[in-house]
């Protein structure tokens, strides 16, 4: 009996997943976004093997090769397909390595914030009363501060560095998740299956994470995807303001910022190509996120 039930549940779950995937790829735009994203992730992962130069190794840079136009050749015979920045760093290699930093920061901060925010949101909704009031006022406070200001303050306290950017972004972003999850959990909490679980005297953490959480997860996944794009953009902004990665290990934002002062002179490539890379990454993630929201949201499917 239970065995039979389990298999049917598993089968229907598999069916739902398959249907979800089919739905997702029904949109050619989303499919393009997804493929682009896979390519970008692949490029970032393979950067050490495919980039012509290690842009983080000062030994391989030569300021005598600085500000060369796309297609120029260095004295050692290396061709700079997208030109070089003022330090003689190959822009193409810089982009490939920069993508790594951007994606790591984006993914790590978005998902860590998702875990923390979701947990806090669930606890608030489940415990109710004073716990809820305290947590939600904290969330209100947090959401009333502009994210970039919050992140700047955190970096001023923590100091510079990629990991510190991740921490700053987590602190700046968890509240969004907490609020969303609490909203959904408040509705779910009143449903019969939770009541049933309570009747069975299951421990609180079990109800929270085994019963409540799975039913609140869909919107979290959507927000998290969007937040990856947002976090990448924020990291670029912070780097642009000089508070992100180290200057010798530039992220995309840093490359854009170092080329920005040359834009008027016609040395467009230092900012332009990293800017395009950043743009494509963020657009691809947003396309995927948009489609995920459509697919996972039962109301928009009818």
């Amino acid at each position: 009996m239970t065995e039979l039930e389990d298999t049917t549940i598993a089968a229907s779950e598999r069916g739902r997943l398959r249907k979800g995937i089919t739905d997702f790829f029904a949109s050619p735009v989303a499919a393009t976004g997804f493929v682009t994203l896979i390519i970008i992730c692949g490029l970032a992962l393979l950067a050490p093997w495919i980039s012509p130069q290690n842009p983080y190794d000062l030994m391989q840079l030569d300021i005598m090769d600085g500000r060369l136009a796309p297609g120029s050749e260095s004295m050692s015979g290396l061709v700079y397909h997208l030109g070089t920045d003022s330090q003689g760093r190959d822009i193409l290699s810089g982009i490939l390595y920069g993508l790594r930093t951007s994606l790591i920061v984006g993914v790590l901060s978005a998902f860590a914030a998702a875990i923390i925010g979701t947990t806090i949101g669930l606890i608030a909704a489940y415990r109710g009363r004073r716990t809820e009031t305290i947590i939600m006022r904290l969330v209100d406070l947090q959401l009333s501060l502009p994210t970039i200001l919050m992140a700047l303050m955190m970096l001023a306290i923590l100091g510079k560095g990629v990991m510190n950017v991740v921490i700053a972004l987590i602190i700046a972003e968890w509240a969004t998740y907490a609020r969303t999850v609490r909203g959904i959990a408040l509705v779910e909490r009143e449903k019969e299956y939770i009541e049933a679980a309570r009747m069975l005297r299951l421990p609180g953490w079990r109800i929270l994470f085994r019963h409540l959480l799975p039913n609140c997860l869909a919107p979290v996944i959507v927000i998290a995807t969007m937040q990856v794009a947002r976090a990448i953009g924020l990291e670029a902004t912070l780097s642009f303001l000089g508070l992100g990665a180290s200057v010798t290990e530039p992220s995309l934002g840093m490359l854009i910022s170092s080329g920005y002062q040359y834009l008027l002179t016609g040395l467009y490539w230092i900012s332009f190509f990293p800017g395009i890379a950043l743009l494509i990454t963020i657009v691809a993630i947003n396309l995927v996120g948009d489609r995920l929201r459509d697919v996972l949201n039962p109301r928009s499917m009818s």
């Binding site: 005598m64 330090q87 200057v247 010798t248």
Partner: protein, 520 residues
């Protein structure tokens, strides 16, 4: 007469658009685009470069500080020391303020004391040695100093002489023009704080009237706006031409780049005091920066001509010591260390570091010309001789205190040598740190060289120029032959201007309308 009125009307209509045909006419106004904004017109409130440059147009000082930081007569025609703590100044006779009143000793006394007593204490560093000011007769002033002060003339040159009638006037009276009457080459017309100051020519100026019928100082701290104003012909000369604008100006037929050396000296500071430095990891666990051979190898590894040429894009001049030739304290005995990476590597090995060591160097971002990029280039060059270098740049607000405190192992430092001689930078960045004496406040490397302290003390109390000069030179020799600091370059003053004007940039970077001349 009628024609002149017509011309003025035409100018009013055309705003500041210059007509080339009229450029040589007597009624030509001048517009300067300043890169910084003065906080007030009160010349004694706040001693910052934009304030002092602005006040210089309306007011004079006893001493004229020339573009090369020399002392020339202005409202004082001659001066001498009566004894080591008493200076006698003979005042220029027949000088009138813009309102027609006569200039005499009362105005000098009122001005010097006002600058000293101002609650803001903006001029404290210039007035602190002044014990008293008295008049011997209406055109002779005696200044008494607390201790013998060889920099008194330089200090006096920074204090503008206002009318004694305004000695108790509040800041607002200067900003609204009531007390903005001086003896200078231009008189006040109107002032819009944060935007512009317009001035009229003083036809009775003692040194001869200016070529320009009027001057407008426009305050344009935004690089893009300043450059755009020059390119659109609105402005005759702009300060601090942005690097990315140089090509645009060069390619334009009507504009020119005016390039001169400033007195801003850029160097690398080194932690030479701690046995283990926070940002150095050497195999032997010691601080290699304490070894002069290591510092020498580091300097040899830096291709400074390439930095000046490629990174600074000719916005700098190679430096070997605090001041360039022609300034007091420049010494021919300072050894010039050239670029030689192979020899640097050998010297590093000789010092016991054949495999180099690891190092993080720190600097500000956006405070000095191309600071972050210079630092990265230095990082590349250190890495080439085996010193594995990481570069950290921070916003100035986070960096300024930390480097002065000595938080770093190797740091990017800079000093504007506005006094034009070597005691001024030595006191601040090389002298042993001593809070009570006020020395070594920016000595971030913990340098403590008793011989330098001794020479400095002597130089700071010697008044006779002939005795003082060798001491000043000795400070350069001892600082740079021991390589307590690694000299990099002097920043250049880069202005953009129409080809119709000529200007010789000053060491202090001020742009003074009276010194702007029509071309040819």
């Amino acid at each position: 007469m009628n024609q002149s009125i017509l011309m003025r009307a035409a100018f009013a209509l055309l705003g500041t658009i210059a007509i080339p045909a009229l450029a040589a006419a007597q009624e030509t106004p001048l517009t300067i685009g300043m890169s910084t904004t003065p906080t007030t017109l009160d010349p004694h409130e706040d001693s910052s470069a934009p304030n002092n440059a602005t006040s210089r147009h309306i007011w004079d000082s006893l001493i004229n500080l020339t573009g090369k930081s020399a002392n020339a007569p202005e409202l004082a025609t001659q001066w001498k020391t009566v004894d080591p703590t008493h200076w006698e100044f003979k005042l220029r006779e027949g000088v009138k303020f813009h309102d027609g009143s006569d200039f005499n000793a009362d105005d000098v006394i009122a001005s010097l004391l006002r600058a000293r007593e101002k609650p803001s204490q903006g001029f404290a560093s210039y007035t602190r040695s002044i014990a008293g000011v008295t008049a011997k007769d209406p055109y002779t002033v005696i200044v008494e100093t607390k201790v013998p002060d060889p920099l008194l003339l330089n200090s006096i040159s920074r204090i503008r002489i206002i009318s004694a009638d305004c000695k108790d006037a509040p800041v607002q009276d200067f900003d609204n023009g009531k007390c903005a009457t001086g003896t200078g080459a231009f008189s006040f017309a109107s002032y819009a704080p944060g935007s512009n100051l317009t001035l009229k020519r003083n036809d009775n100026y003692f040194a001869g009237p200016s070529h320009w019928s009027g001057v407008t100082l426009r305050f344009l701290p935004d690089d893009g706006a300043r450059l755009a104003s020059l390119l659109s012909n609105e402005i005759d000369i702009i300060e601090t031409l942005p690097a990315d604008g140089m090509a645009r100006v060069e390619s334009s037929g009507d504009l020119q780049i005016i390039n001169g050396q400033s007195s801003r000296f850029v160097y690398l500071g080194m932690d030479v005091s701690r046995d283990a430095s926070p940002f150095v990891q050497a195999a032997d666990g010691k601080n290699p920066l304490k070894d002069v051979r290591v510092r020498r190898a580091m300097l040899m590894s830096i291709n400074r001509p390439a930095i000046v040429d490629r990174v600074m894009q000719k916005n700098g001049t190679l430096a070997d010591q605090f001041v360039a030739e022609g300034y007091a304290g420049h010494s021919g005995k300072v050894e010039k260390v050239g670029y030689d990476a192979a020899a640097a590597k050998a010297l590093l090995a000789e010092a016991g570091y054949p495999d180099g060591f690891s190092l993080t160097i720190h600097g500000p971002s956006g405070r000095y010309v191309k600071d972050a990029e210079v630092l990265q280039a230095v990082g590349q060059m250190f890495t080439r001789i085996g010193i594995k270098t990481k570069v950290e740049v921070l916003p100035w607000a986070m960096y300024s205190d930390a480097y002065a405190r000595g938080d770093y192992s190797v740091y990017f430092g800079s000093w504007g040598v506005n006094s034009g001689e070597t005691t001024n930078p030595t006191v601040a960045v090389v002298a042993t740190r001593d809070e009570k004496k006020g020395t070594g406040r920016y000595n971030g490397g913990g340098i403590s060289d008793p011989q330098i302290d001794e020479v400095l003390a002597k130089a700071s109390s010697t008044l006779a120029e002939a005795e003082r000069e060798p001491l000043l030179e000795d400070l350069s020799v001892r600082t740079f032959n021991n390589l307590w600091l690694l000299p990099l370059h002097y920043e250049n003053v880069v202005l953009g201007a129409k080809k119709t004007v000529a200007y010789t940039p000053r060491g202090d970077k001020y742009t003074l309308a009276y010194e702007v001349k029509p071309a040819n």
